[in-house]
């Protein structure tokens, strides 16, 4: 074994640095021949006969040299390296083929890399702490403390993290504002309960938080991230235990979190953690110790499952409100940042759809590449046959073809990396309000992505090339050449190419239809769906006092504040109208629609998802919602009983299908008694575009005295009004913990986050797939034009026109495109059912979308085909007949 290893090592080494040159070897062989000839002469043979006899007995020098070269090095590597010098000339000769093949591979693999990286960052990459399968989060546990008895159902323990934004919005006043003197920027800080790191199974360099650190008046302490320690403090050991000068209070750094850990939730990039007990001293508003709602993290006991927890909750708390807050989801399915509410990314279907989509594009790319490679080597079959006939071994020829394919793999991989890098660079800018902020994910390309790119490129090319390589290096093609002129490609070969093209077109159609459906949904969502004037409205949300403010005068003060805000809004130049009233589209509203409200009308009771908008009398006119029957609300309606109400048209028709709703009385089973319908308004969305209320009732009750107040504002240019409005409101109520201003378009954009992401995503993929399809059609038609020149020349000589030839060339491509189109339409119709719930305002079989995509595909295919058939237009019969 050792001897063999020595032999292989020397052979491998000789591939790069020969121990014995060809001259050396030839000299030895020639000596052998001379000695053999001399022996023959000594035996009495004439010199010529002696030489010939010597050659016959000893064999040829050329064959012996070949055998020696194979023994000296490794034949495969030799063959690969020996042709490297010829590559530039080869690439130039077949530049169109190499360019198209590289582009195809780069696009198909690059697009998949983008998907792979995003999916890896969002779903697949494990969280950086152990045993994550037993860790869960309670996204709705905001009002539960860590020592609540109900949390004992989690046998493995619990911990909490102060929330700085949630489903309701507006908790940013709880965001710790800590700045180290020596670091210019504000640090992203999370406030956690003492058991947080222990629960996650993380060891701290230094020490962890204790209960003493959480006491009132305890010394301010913090645990910093490994990233902060490296970047800002040079991993100085002396930092642990030291007090750092900071605003608003100096902080003692007691420990460093493990490397790679930046928060329990995906999307967190914490610089530092502090105990929740320190919060009142580091936030900008006055809060009490227990004012911070907590995101609860829990660990399941060994053997305990989420289903077990659910059963426990049902058993112990079936009829108690607490059960709403005990809904747990796996921690790995949570995305959250300090600025956005927690999102559960448990999107099993989406993962399947996105993965399937990426595979479709790769499949399409493979099909196009296979056709390109097949076409290229069919054009060179004459050249390959001649070389086989002249003695080139199949091994050498295969090595040469593999070298060419390897070049495409290398350039295609590099191209895929460029496409992926560009795609990942722009992806964070596609992050949508209310959705997952992709910029918070680690989208860096690491060695695994590079390996995946190279492997995908290689596999794609292997799949595409195995047929041509085996076909065109077999000895049979040499016999074909000997027997007669090179035949035109067989119909079987042509059918293979057309089949591949049809497959690719099908995949492209599916992707484009998905893109079209999402795009139309988004357009509809911005246009017709909301029902109010999205383009000319803004919404202001003000938190009037902090939760820890228990002063008896707070409500009276707030009433005065609301009045000041109202006056301030009306004083802003550019504001046409301002009214009290919440935004019709918002997450808060959605929560109240989950259970139907029983509505009593004369003689009937119904359960409806009822929206209720309490505002000032002019709220509907501010929103741009017209009254279609009866009258609008007035100031006098603010205190009347029954409560004068305007109802949306569909709800009115549902409750009184045969009569006029105006003048009717309806009694929803909630506080607020009886509602007198005084007017009917056009339908508008309340809650969410994805799940709107059945109908809405609007009253002129105004601000109800709660901690929040909302205003709707009408302006010609809402985007330009955001800052001025923010300024005047903050001036009117300087003590308000939170003021938020959003435009109507931002609201709709946030609500349609998933659809917009789908539109971008599918459109991007659709474009890639369409480009690949165009390459495929172009290549197929160009090849047909090239390979059937003689036939076309004969047809021209017999009276056919160039138009006939072009039509024939096009037909060869349009037929598979049409077949692929039909199959793609059917597949798209079946797949679109999976995301019907996301399609607002149109069906999954929307004829306009399907028709537009089909026409687009046919037009692109026709143009690509015309491009490929260009040379047919200029073909002269004599020239074509000379072609062999």
């Amino acid at each position: 074994m050792e001897r063999k290893l020595r032999e292989w090592f020397l052979r491998f080494w000789s591939t790069f640095r020969q121990r014995r040159s060809d001259t050396d070897l030839e000299e030895e062989l020639r000596l052998h021949l001379e000695l053999a000839a001399a022996d023959a002469r000594r035996r009495g043979q004439p010199p010529d006969d002696a030489n010939r006899a010597a050659r016959l007995r000893a064999g040829g020098v050329a064959q012996a040299m070949d055998a020696l070269r194979d023994q000296r090095g490794l034949p495969w590597i030799d063959a690969a390296l020996s042709g490297v010098g010829n590559l530039p000339r080869l690439v130039f000769r077949h530049r169109a083929y190499f360019t198209f093949a590289t582009l195809t591979l780069a696009l198909a693999v690059g697009a998949n890399l983008v998907v792979f990286t995003v999916v890896n960052a969002l779903w697949l990459r494990p969280l950086p702490f152990p045993d994550t399968d037993r860790l869960v989060a309670l996204p709705d546990g905001a009002f539960v403390t860590v020592d609540a008895p109900s949390l004992k159902i989690f046998g493995g323990g619990v911990a909490g993290q102060a929330m700085t934004d949630d489903l309701f919005g507006g908790l940013e006043f709880l965001r710790p504002q800590i700045r180290f003197d020596q670091i210019g920027r504000e640090l992203e800080t999370l406030a956690v309960t003492p058991g947080y790191f222990r629960l996650l199974g993380l060891g701290i360099l230094g020490r962890d938080f204790t209960a003493d650190d959480n006491r009132t008046g305890a010394e301010p302490v913090a645990i910093i991230s490994d990233r902060l320690w490296s970047q800002e403090f040079g991993r100085r050991q002396g930092l642990i235990g030291a007090v750092i000068a900071a605003k608003p209070v100096p902080i003692r750094v007691i420990g460093v979190a493990p490397s790679g850990f930046e928060g329990a939730r995906r999307g967190e990039k914490a610089d530092m953690w502090i105990p929740t007990g320190l919060l009142p001293r580091v936030v900008t508003v006055k809060i009490g110790e227990s004012d911070a709602p907590l995101m609860i993290f829990a660990r399941l006991a060994r053997g305990q499952t989420l289903a077990d927890v659910e059963r426990l909750v049902q058993r112990e708390y079936a009829n108690e409100p607490i059960k709403e807050y005990l809904k747990a989801v796996p921690l790995k399915d949570i995305f959250g940042t300090p600025e956005s509410r927690t999102i559960v990314i448990r999107e099993g279907n989406s993962l399947a759809i996105i993965g399937g989509l990426a595979m479709l594009v790769l499949l399409g790319g493979c099909a196009t590449l296979a056709a390109l490679v097949l076409v290229h080597y069919e054009r060179r079959r004459g050249e390959l046959a001649v070389r086989l006939a002249l003695g080139a071994s199949r091994l050498r020829l295969t090595a040469e073809l593999c070298r060419e394919l390897l070049l495409i793999v290398v350039t295609g991989t590099l191209g895929a990396m460029l496409v992926a890098t560009w795609g990942l660079y722009i992806i964070p800018s596609l992050s949508l309000p209310g959705g997952v902020d992709l910029g918070r994910l680690d989208l860096s390309i690491d060695w695994r992505v590079v390996s995946a790119a190279a492997a995908m490129a290689l596999l794609t090319l292997l799949a595409a090339a195995c047929l041509p390589v085996s076909r065109f290096t077999r000895g049979g093609i040499a016999r074909d050449l000997v027997a007669g002129p090179a035949p035109t490609p067989s119909s079987a070969s042509q059918r293979v190419r057309q089949g591949l093209l049809a497959l690719h077109v099908s995949a492209t159609i599916v992707v484009l239809i998905a893109a079209g459906l999402f795009v139309r949904t988004v357009i509809y969502g911005f246009g017709n769906a909301p029902g109010f004037d999205v383009d000319h409205t803004l919404f202001v949300n003000i938190e009037l006092w902090s939760p820890s403010n228990h002063e008896p005068t707070r409500k009276a003060n707030a009433a005065q504040a609301v009045s000041r805000i109202r006056d301030a809004l009306r004083s802003v130049a550019g504001v046409k109208e301002a009214a009290e009233g919440m935004a019709p589209i918002c997450p808060v509203a959605t929560r109240f629609l989950t259970r139907p409200i029983v509505v009593r009308t004369d003689g009937a009771e119904r359960g409806v998802a009822l929206g209720r908008l309490d505002g000032s009398a002019n709220v509907l006119s501010t929103l741009g919602v017209p009254i279609v029957a009866g009258r609008g609300l007035t100031q006098a309606d603010m205190s009347a009983q029954p409560v004068p109400t305007v109802m949306t048209a569909s709800l009115a028709k549902m409750l009184w299908p045969r009569g006029d709703a105006v003048g009717q009385v309806v009694s929803p089973v909630w506080r607020g008694g009886r509602l007198l319908i005084v007017g009917i308004a056009r339908d508008f969305v309340f809650g969410s575009l994805n799940k709107p209320a059945t109908g809405t009732v609007v009253t002129a009750r105004g601000w109800a005295g709660g901690i929040d107040c909302q205003f709707a504002v009408r302006a010609a240019h809402p985007e330009a009004m955001v800052k001025p409005i923010l300024k005047v409101v903050q001036a009117a109520v300087p003590d308000a913990p939170s003021v938020k201003v959003v435009t109507g378009r931002d609201l709709v954009a946030s609500d349609l986050g998933r659809q917009r992401l789908g539109a971008w995503f599918f459109s991007g993929f659709g474009l890639v797939a369409l480009l690949l399809g165009v390459f495929g059609v172009f290549g197929l038609v160009a090849y047909l034009a090239e390979s059937r020149q003689r036939e076309f020349g004969i047809r021209l000589a017999l009276g056919a026109t160039t138009r006939d030839l072009v039509r024939q060339g096009l037909a060869a491509a349009i037929i598979p495109v049409s077949v692929g189109l039909a199959a793609g339409l059917l597949c798209a119709a079946w797949i679109a059912r999976l995301f019907t719930s996301l399609l607002t305002g149109l069906s999954a079989l929307d004829p306009l979308t399907y028709g537009a995509v089909a026409i687009t595909m046919l037009v692109c295919a026709a143009m690509a085909g015309l491009g490929g058939a260009w040379r047919l237009r200029r073909m002269a019969p004599a020239e074509a007949l000379r072609t062999e």
Binding site: K4, E7, E27, H32, R57, D66, L68
Partner: protein, 119 residues
């Protein structure tokens, strides 16, 4: 292994190395032609090693450290002597030869017994 078709003995696979090592052991440092001529002579013409068989084998044995090749001057009757590559056994080559002789001896004894039994 041979250029001529009939009346020659086919060499069993794996025996070429043994033949070459044994021949060099018998002749001392020799060049390739001498080795081929010796084998042909001893086999009475039954085995003719052509260059495409012999020299790759010599190279392989050299790569395995069983032979050492050095350039010298051939003294076999060519005008002025010619530069030739002489192959000699290394210590490892001698050990390998001894081991292969033993293995060959055992194998031939077993085959002898088997063939005698059947006959």
């Amino acid at each position: 292994m041979t250029n001529q078709k009939t009346a020659k003995t086919d060499v069993l696979q794996g025996t070429l190395d043994l033949m070459v090592l044994q021949t060099i052991d018998a002749l001392g440092p020799s060049h390739g032609y001498a080795i081929a001529a010796r084998v042909e002579q001893v086999s009475k013409g039954a085995i003719q090693l052509n260059m495409g068989t012999l020299y790759p084998a010599l190279m392989r044995l050299e790569q395995r450290g069983l032979l050492r090749g050095t350039w010298g001057i051939s003294d076999t009757g060519l005008r002025g002597g010619r530069k030739a590559r002489f192959y000699s056994l290394t210590a490892a080559g001698r050990r390998q030869l001894a081991a292969e002789r033993q293995a060959w001896g055992r194998m031939t004894a077993i085959m002898q017994d088997l063939l005698q039994q059947e006959g």
